[in-house]
Symmetry: C2
Subunit: 524 residues, 2 copies
């Protein structure tokens, strides 16, 4: 594999291991009582429902033995994933040199079909601290149908796996819980009252930042993605301030939740950062959001500033009242067919649809996601807003209400943030997460997500933990059925980050207070 | 001004000064005979025509005195510009603490209208090594009309300027030569045979890299822009290789010439990098270029690779034979009106126009540049190619010739590369260029561009030089008239960089040999 000088340098980086994770042979667990599950969740996961969350304790001597473990990347890339695998490899071999680690290829479909490679020291050493998921690839297949579940079980048995580590987001970890339950059920069928003995362990991964709660401080990859995007935003802000003629409409990847936009706003101080959750709380429609942007541009024009920086979360339009209604109707209406949409929509939704530019209408009617839903991430919200803002500014210009010039530039910060070289934080965080996963497998735990707490402190004092996958579940409609799934965490409008943002943003509107974080530095 | 921790850190960076530039009081010049000018150039610039290029020599003791100097940014941002100004400030004050430096605001229009600020140590110190042109802003006004020239002369006289430093690209430096000639003429009118005594000095600035020749190794900003774009391209390549489902069509800023694309290709090893100059040399049409991309995609699909990375220079379509003819006709036809285009185009151009997607047709008919030309940079070539490639792949799929899936993502690497934090190279290069400019002003030289040679060596041994602006000129049509202008340097298909690329690119098509340069590191 060809490597840049920086990639070669990063291979040598040594992530610090938390003190609590250094001696695997003396790690034990303390159960932490958690809130009772929803009855519907308990019903679907009877064998996992009684599990408590865990904190790691010390001084317990445990007989660690050689383990056979499989690992898979599930879903979109996030920086640091290779270090989870490297840590698993190191920990398993530290305990017993005869341990084996298998990498399932190109996502969970590799588990179903038995497509895997044994991971050797040579492979591991050539991916330490590097970005991407290319060591073994990733994919979005879910293991859901009876045939898929049986296939996975067959492969797991053939490989005599003691553990299966699933590196994924909320959906993939939901799937991990179903797998854990299924493997336990298979054991029961075979007369064991312990279930089939395999540890299914999830790792919190997603740049979107929407997998966080009392136990999981943040998914890995969020830190790197925000820093990559903030580099770009800071550069564009500097450019806006220099040329004084462009409005940068910057859409930021991150699916529904606006965590990335919020974090990048704190790092760069844009003139406006739209937060989807706030748009929803205020029940704003598309035209209300457009009005808020036009208002900013008009105020700045009056201050002789025909330039600026506006951040737009990828999921924004899902949070607009009228667009959400339209999307819900479109999701229900279309089973792949694109005909007669206008006739079938309700009058309100039809009006909303018709008021959209042609290009956006086509994007709404484009390919569906695997759940059969409109792919909101494919809608070019930054271009939609530019088109509608321009129309409104023209109206105001014609009546003399607005006197500026408007040169917008649509920007999308997306895929380049997923496979970047991980920051020192993500590299170290992932390495420690992988080590927690190894410990959980040593102890035969299943249906847990590896976690670390006290992440704002130095790595030495990070606190390892494990959270039961089902404890994070609530009920959602999926393909027309109500199912227990791990809850996506949206931006909390009462939380400290949003409050800090809300306290400062007024000051950023007219006085350009841009910050330029610059490129990620690995040395400090 | 709000600053990130990295910006604050960069303020403290000390660019190394070339040995040859350390003691300003002992610097002299040696004339280097250059090729004779075109007669048409000599005719327009009679007072500059006899000037030879200069190399700096030493041991000459020169009486340096306090100077009053103005400086201006002209045209698009490029990383390092603030260091040119910082070096000017430092050098002028090193020679005489009573020297004064004035910054003209928001581009050359500031010279015409007398819109300037005195630059103080406090201002200078808060922009050292930082990106953007926001210390004094930039702009694209040219000083061309008699009124503009008179305005500039009045301001220069009022401020009693000894020197005027114009930081710009080929157009801005062409304009600098006209200004130098005009000021000399004004002196003559007033009975002096020396002309009005002001040094007009140009600094080679443009991320596009198209201002390079025997004397000017590279314009500043090119290094930083290529590294910013290569970071993104490397991240996207890693992402393509991980997810194995996207084709990234990456358009790179850089105007006509494909220097940036070529350099980024060498840094990242994409599957395909289109080079405009080669497309022109091969007389390829749009459909030939589309065919070459489709061919790549088909070959990769046969190798079970439905993903890849394709680099597209911003100016590509100008180099396609049919598109160039269309653009030339459009440039001639339209004086702002958008009507009856189809009727007025020649049959060939009409056919080309009609074969384009609607969105691209609109972009071709959109706002013109200040010369009245179609703004090629506003045409979304990456989207045009995706549309046409998709059409052709569908045709081939329908006959069974192509069996892959095609998920393209259009990407534009642009404005974020102009105002990034300068690399150590650009920071140091600019600081030394500013110092060369100061020396030229001390010696009363005018109509020169500051230059440094041996840039591949450590900064200590860089060789200062000055190249006569008119010596870089050739003849071009501007607004219907043939005028002497500084020549843009296109990619040389016989040059070492292109040859190195051509020797390797076949190996990059099917075997993924991507490199990920990662973010710019300032510490090494």
């Amino acid at each position: 594999m060809n490597m840049s000088p920086l990639q070669k340098l990063r291979l040598e980086y040594k992530p610090e291991v938390a003190k609590a994770l250094q001696d695997i042979s003396t790690i034990g667990f303390e159960e932490v009582p958690s809130a009772p599950l929803l009855q519907e969740v308990s019903a679907v996961f009877p064998r996992l429902a009684a599990q408590e969350n865990l904190k790691i304790t010390h001084g317990v001597s445990v007989a660690c033995s050689a383990k056979r473990v499989g690992v898979v990347f599930s879903g979109g890339q996030a920086a640091g994933g290779h270090n989870v695998i490297a840590a698993l490899f190191d920990a398993l071999h530290e305990v017993a040199p005869t341990s084996e680690l298998f990498g399932f290829l190109n996502g969970p479909s590799g588990i179903v079909t038995g497509n895997y490679i044994p991971l050797t020291k040579e492979i591991i050493d050539s991916f330490r601290n590097l970005g991407g998921f290319d060591m073994i690839g990733s994919g979005r297949t879910k293991i859901e149908t009876p045939e898929q579940l049986q296939g996975a079980f067959r492969v797991v048995k053939e490989l005599k796996l003691d553990g299966l580590v699933i590196i994924g987001g909320d959906d993939s970890n939901t799937n991990a819980a179903y797998l854990a339950q299924y493997f336990l059920d298979q054991g029961l069928d075979q007369g064991s009252d312990q279930g089939y003995p395999i540890s299914v362990i999830g790792i919190p991964k997603t740049i979107d930042g929407d997998l966080q709660n009392e136990w999981v401080s943040i998914p890995f990859g969020f830190d790197t993605a925000c820093k990559v995007y903030s580099e770009t935003i800071g550069n564009l802000a500097k450019d806006a301030l220099s040329a004084k003629k462009y409005y940068y409409f910057i859409k930021l990847m991150g699916r529904s939740a606006s965590h990335i936009t919020l974090e990048c706003a704190m790092e760069t101080h844009p003139n406006l950062a739209l937060i989807g959750e706030e748009v929803a709380a205020k029940k704003q429609t598309l035209s209300a959001v457009v009005e808020s942007i036009v208002q900013l541009i008009q105020e700045r024009a009056e201050a002789h500033k025909d330039y600026g920086v506006i951040l737009i979360p990828e999921g924004l339009i899902e949070f607009m009242q009228d667009m959400q209604e339209l999307i819900v109707e479109l999701n229900r209406l279309l089973g792949g067919t694109k005909k007669n949409i206008l006739e079938e929509l309700s009058p309100g939704a039809r009006y909303s649809f018709q008021s959209l530019p042609q290009a956006i209408q086509e994007q709404l009617l484009g390919d569906r996601d695997p759940h059969g839903n409109v792919q909101v991430s494919k809608i070019e919200t930054e271009r939609l807003l530019i088109t509608l803002v321009r129309e409104e500014l023209r109206k105001r210009a014609s009546t003399g209400r607005y006197k500026g010039t408007f040169s917008p530039q649509p920007i999308f910060c997306g895929y380049e943030g997923r496979s970047a070289l991980p920051t020192n934080f993500d590299a170290t965080y992932c390495y420690n997460l992988g080590r927690v996963a190894a410990v959980l497998i040593m102890h035969g735990k299943t249906g847990y997500m590896a976690a670390l707490q006290a992440l704002r402190e130095p790595p030495a004092v990070w606190q390892p933990a494990a959270v039961s996958l089902v404890s994070m579940m609530h009920l959602e409609e999926r393909k027309g059925k109500i199912k227990p799934v791990i809850k996506k965490t949206l931006v909390d409008l009462e939380g400290p980050v949003f409050k800090m943002f809300a306290a400062q943003r007024e000051a950023w509107r007219l006085v350009d207070d841009y910050m330029q974080p610059g490129p990620i530095q690995f040395s400090s």
